[in-house]
């Protein structure tokens, strides 16, 4: 790649525009914390320049800089609409600097809330997967039991797990246990259904191939049927993960004492929309990071697929 292709990008011009924009006089009465925005974008730009030097593939670099370009574009519009133009109601729409400032101020609280939310998700999710996958293998393998179980799981899986929340609150001692229970249910049915359909759809010739190797039942189930069903198991797991976040944050808005959903709900109740936006952005980042890690795991475990 030539240096022009590496560094002469719209993204980098947007960065300069964004910085120059900060030189305009502020239009808002409340401290806009412009320096926090500047430090943030300078940090991002340093990353962009490092990666522009390091990344070898043109497509990979373009994708990254395009995404950052959108981020800069958004920040330009946001800055214009709030700090520099004051087109929007400042009580409802904080400046980007205020949001970054609040994020830094609240970082300890935010980390505690992330830990709480992610802890609940992991517990409910892993517990559900640990029960649903082996159960799905056995039910799917026992053909007759399996077809009955398919219908039952279709019925029970059709109930939106959020409606269990009030009953869960009555049934279980702590909010945490309710949340884990609801996420367990939200994950359990799709993973069970995915596993069973995976097992039922294993290429028969693969099973024959294992049979003629004289594998025992255990090997057949865990070294042949399980990996063969893995693509469909992951479909169920993906579904469960998507629903889990919606559920957890909804549940936290109803009855929690901490967690990301609680953070957003609490501050929006008090009209603190700066923190509300901080909460929204943090939830977005957490979901993206978890999905990213989950995708990495999936790609690794399914690396044998074309």
């Amino acid at each position: 790649m030539t240096w022009k292709k590496r560094y002469l990008k719209v993204t980098n011009f947007l960065f300069i525009i964004l910085l120059l924009l900060q030189l305009l006089p502020d239009q808002v009465s409340k401290e806009p914390h412009t320096s926090y925005l500047v430090w943030f974008v300078v940090g991002v730009e340093v990353l962009v320049l490092i990666l522009s030097t390091v990344i070898k593939k043109q497509e990979g670099l373009n994708l990254f800089t395009d995404i950052i370009g959108f981020l800069y574009g958004l920040l330009i519009v946001w800055t214009l609409a709030t700090a520099k133009g004051n087109w929007l109601n400042p009580a409802l729409f904080p400046t980007p600097g205020q949001v970054f400032y609040q994020f830094v101020e609240d970082i300890d609280k935010i980390l505690v809330n992330i830990k709480s939310s992610v802890g609940i998700i992991l517990e409910g999710y892993l517990l559900a997967a640990a029960v649903a996958i082996p159960l799905g293998l056995f039910l799917g393998w026992g053909a007759r039991l399996g077809s009955a179980a398919t219908y039952i799981s279709k019925f029970l899986g059709a109930i939106p797990p959020i409606v269990y929340i009030p009953y869960g609150i009555a049934l279980l001692p702590t909010f945490r246990s309710v949340a884990v229970f609801v996420i367990f249910l939200a994950t359990f049915w799709p993973v069970l259904a995915g596993t069973m359909s995976g097992v039922l759809n294993v290429e028969k010739r693969l099973i024959d191939s294992a049979k003629v190797l004289n594998v025992n039942k255990f090997t057949m189930l865990f070294s042949v049927i399980l990996p063969a069903s893995l693509p469909q198991i992951f479909i169920g797991c993906n579904q469960g993960l998507g629903v889990s976040f919606i559920l957890l944050t909804s549940a936290e808005m109803i009855g929690a004492r901490d967690g990301l959903g609680y953070y957003v709900k609490q501050y929006s109740d008090f009209g603190d929309y700066t923190r509300t936006i901080v909460g929204l952005l943090v939830i977005g980042i957490v979901v993206v990071v978890i999905s990213f890690l989950f995708n990495k795991l999936q790609n690794y475990l399914l690396r044998w697929k074309r």
Partner: protein, 270 residues
């Protein structure tokens, strides 16, 4: 008594609520160390016969004896190569071979199994592809891995169900010669007993000691024909001899009399 005795095998199956006879009173024997090809047009039951030998399909009546003992289901004295899906797609070539070895040689350590797998992959010419997944290998290479696994498992009997049926002509030739070389060995080891299903007449002549010709409706043995050519065989020399041409013609006329009879006789020009 042969290594494998197939006695009065009859197999009726129900498919789409219609019962049909896939095999009718099939009997023949395979001697120890003999390479037997089962040949016939599609629908003659040759693959069904092999599935029964493998132990994955049931029989209606009759029995199969191996070393004089009737078989029930699959057995560790039989290794199998299918036309498709012999390999597990989530295992690399060497893991596939090592997995096969693990099922028969349980006392070997993981390291020993992988070393043994490597040896056999070397033998089939896949030194550089050991860590590839089946999806990254061509059809011919996949069959090489399947053959390496079957050989590494060191079973007395090798059952092969049209193993080269889906391979292009050039690679098929190469694979046939590889199989021939591996089976004939260097003369020090005992040869494996092979039952090889194919619809390729040249393939069956090149490889086998005996050809079992089957016909359809219902599937039965039409004729057992010993192959009169010396070993080791060289394809290029063999196909040029007059005897080869005559023998091949004889087989062809048997093979196509069955097909001609099935689709209406005289109108068919072959």
């Amino acid at each position: 008594m042969g290594k494998i005795d197939i006695r009065h095998l009859t197999a009726d199956y129900v498919e789409k609520n219609k019962s049909f006879t896939a095999l009718s009173d099939v009997s023949f024997s395979v001697e120890t160390g003999e390479f037997v090809s089962v040949i016939g047009s599609s629908g003659c039951g040759k693959s069904t016969l092999l599935s029964i030998l493998e132990g994955i399909k049931p029989v209606t009546s009759g029995e199969i004896l191996i070393d004089g003992e009737p078989i029930h289901g699959t057995g560790s004295e039989r290794g199998v190569v299918f036309q498709h899906y012999s390999l597990f797609p989530w295992m690399t070539a060497r893991k596939n071979v090592a997995f096969g070895i693990k099922q028969v040689k349980k006392d070997l350590s993981k390291k020993e199994r992988l070393e043994l797998a490597d040896q056999f992959l070397d033998k089939v010419g896949l030194e550089d592809f050991k860590n590839k997944y089946p999806s990254q290998l061509s059809g011919g290479m996949q069959q090489r891995v399947a053959i390496a696994r079957a050989l590494a498992m060191d079973t007395d009997i090798l059952l092969m169900d049209e193993p080269f049926g889906a391979i292009d002509a050039k690679n098929r030739t190469i694979l046939q010669e590889l199989l021939l070389k591996l089976w004939e060995g260097d003369g020090t080891q005992e040869k494996k007993t092979v039952v090889f299903v194919t619809h390729d007449i040249d393939e069956s002549i090149l490889l086998s000691d005996k050809i079992v010709m089957m016909t359809a409706n219902p599937g039965r043995v039409a004729k057992e024909i010993p192959v009169p050519f010396e070993r080791p065989r060289n394809r290029a020399e063999l196909v040029q001899t007059k005897e080869y041409g005559l023998f091949r013609n004889e087989l062809m006329s048997l093979f196509y009399s069955d097909i001609a009879g099935k689709i209406g006789g005289d109108e068919v020009v072959l």
